[in-house]
Symmetry: C2
Subunit: 318 residues, 2 copies
């Protein structure tokens, strides 16, 4: 009988899901709204109605052996979502337990960046690598740290929050309440903020003067960089410098063999990779120089969060 894991990726607006087989092939992918329900019970009822509907299309005979979930502020130890700022449901949600009403199989959850790290390990470029770091660059900067082949969860289940390490005392205001967090510099909104700082300083020769703060995004900055826009190029250089310097700190912590970059900003290729590598090498301590690969995720165009979430189950079965 063919076995599947339901991989679920809970985002602020949509929840994506799919049936993932042992080889990392995704079947019957789908999507369901996250933000339309004030009550978690209603959200889950709707989500699992959609999932069960899709399950009918799988070739019989088949069996769901587990559910893996990536969610903002997902806590692996407790199977809970805890005080997630981007979701409607406040406080501590006992999600794993609630999902068991729909599928009476093992349910595991963790945060989305941790899930991506597992996805890279089980199906992507980190196969066979036991010490690495995954960085997801989107509206924030997420991270998953793998040590000795396992995710680092820390004593409370919330380890791996490199987006909230400090770049500058009294630096940029972060959504988390602190100031100067890495993700306020290195993320899609972060590079936009850097463009605005640069324009304030010297806007000569830049096409980026045409856009409001609301209009501008990282893709637009990337497109201008490709046309050699001086401000766009400098913004990438600064973003990579900050990321490289902070990743040098991370290397001093766990000495990874590789660091994978995933997400929108990582798709800018060498514009972000080159300065990141250059400044990582500059700031990292001697014994680590020349040892750490910084490279794009190999799952860039696949549904890494659904895949990675399913790995929460598959990694122990494989």
């Amino acid at each position: 009988m063919k076995e599947y894991v339901v991989g679920i990726d809970i985002g602020g607006t949509f929840t994506k899901f799919g049936f993932v087989d042992r080889d990392g092939k995704i079947f019957e992918e789908g999507s369901s709204p996250s933000d339309k329900f004030d009550k978690i019970e209603d959200y889950l009822a709707n989500l699992f109605k959609d999932i069960k509907e899709r399950e009918k299309n799988l070739e019989a005979p088949c069996k769901v052996i587990g559910v893996g979930i990536g969610a903002p502020n997902g806590n692996f130890y407790r199977g809970t979502i805890e005080n997630a700022p981007n979701l409607n449901w406040k406080g501590i949600i006992p999600l794993a337990e609630m999902v068991n009403k729909y599928y009476d199989v093992p349910v595991r959850l963790t945060n989305d960046a941790n899930a991506a790290a597992l996805g890279e390990k089980v199906y992507g470029g980190a196969q066979g690598i036991d010490n690495f770091i995954m960085i997801t660059l989107g509206t924030g900067l997420g991270s998953g740290i793998i040590v000795n082949g396992d995710l680092v969860y820390g004593h409370d289940g919330f380890a791996g929050e490199l987006g909230h390490t400090n770049v500058e005392v009294d630096g940029r205001q972060c959504g988390c309440g602190n100031k100067g967090c890495l993700e306020t510099y290195v993320s899609a909104p972060g590079i936009k903020r850097t463009v605005f700082e640069l324009l304030a300083h010297d806007s000569r020769g830049s096409n980026l003067v045409k856009y409001s703060f609301d209009e501008m995004d990282s893709e637009l900055i990337y497109n201008e960089a490709k046309k050699d826009d001086p401000v766009a190029l400098k913004a990438f250089e600064i973003t990579g410098k900050i990321l490289g310097r902070k990743l040098a700190d991370s290397v001093a912590h766990t000495s990874p063999k590789a660091i994978f970059l995933f997400g929108g900003l990582a798709k800018s290729g060498d514009y972000i990779l080159k300065p990141t590598k250059k400044y990582l090498e500059e700031f990292v301590m001697g014994p680590f120089k020349g040892k750490v690969d910084v490279k794009p995720s190999q799952l860039m165009d696949r549904n890494v969060a659904v895949l990675g979430s399913s790995s929460l189950i598959w990694k122990d079965v494989k």
Copy 2:
């Protein structure tokens, strides 16, 4: 038959050793010079002559079941000392293999701060704690990171070098060759450098104006702080602020339950602990606030490095 592990702590000037029993009691402690021998073979011959001499004093019948070694740039995976700047023997020394000529038992080695972390775990305040960080404050800043009950060695055996994370771009010159490393601010020489910066800015009311750079040390600064010397007090505040900010970054990496401070500077008690805790709480991300204990090592007055080195063997036997 009573069993012992030979615990060895290799320092730049002296090598300390002792026979450690299962309960962490040290017998026949001794010390042997490190810096008098140009050839590693001669150093080891002399050291093990001293150790074997002491062994005769142990109550018979007894047995040495392993040798644990803490050494600068000690590599756990390879059993080597690699390019240690403070030792006479350059390049890569296959130490574990060489020690086997004297004791044909398992030999393990790691760096001194990792050994201290293990000592805290097996015999000190970290008993029963599976996620913590050990910081050793001396002429440098060493660190050992414990995740899921084990030391983090990383892919190359050199993980846990928090002393060489970056505090400031183009900051103070570090012995490692880089600039702005944490240990240039937070260590015995680091706080002295901060005193000199402060005196340059405003020396009014300070007794520290009487000492040359060579004469001043962290104990002297501590003694003046106890007499409310304004520069000494401010130097501790700044040192703790930098340490607290960088430890907040470390918490975001591995989410430890506790951070232990060990060594000369840590003996200054609240002068260093209070600002460290205060600024760790200020800079750490919301979900970690109020969760991390920062406290002095419980092995402060014991030979933690000899104890910790012996733990490399005992932890797998106990």
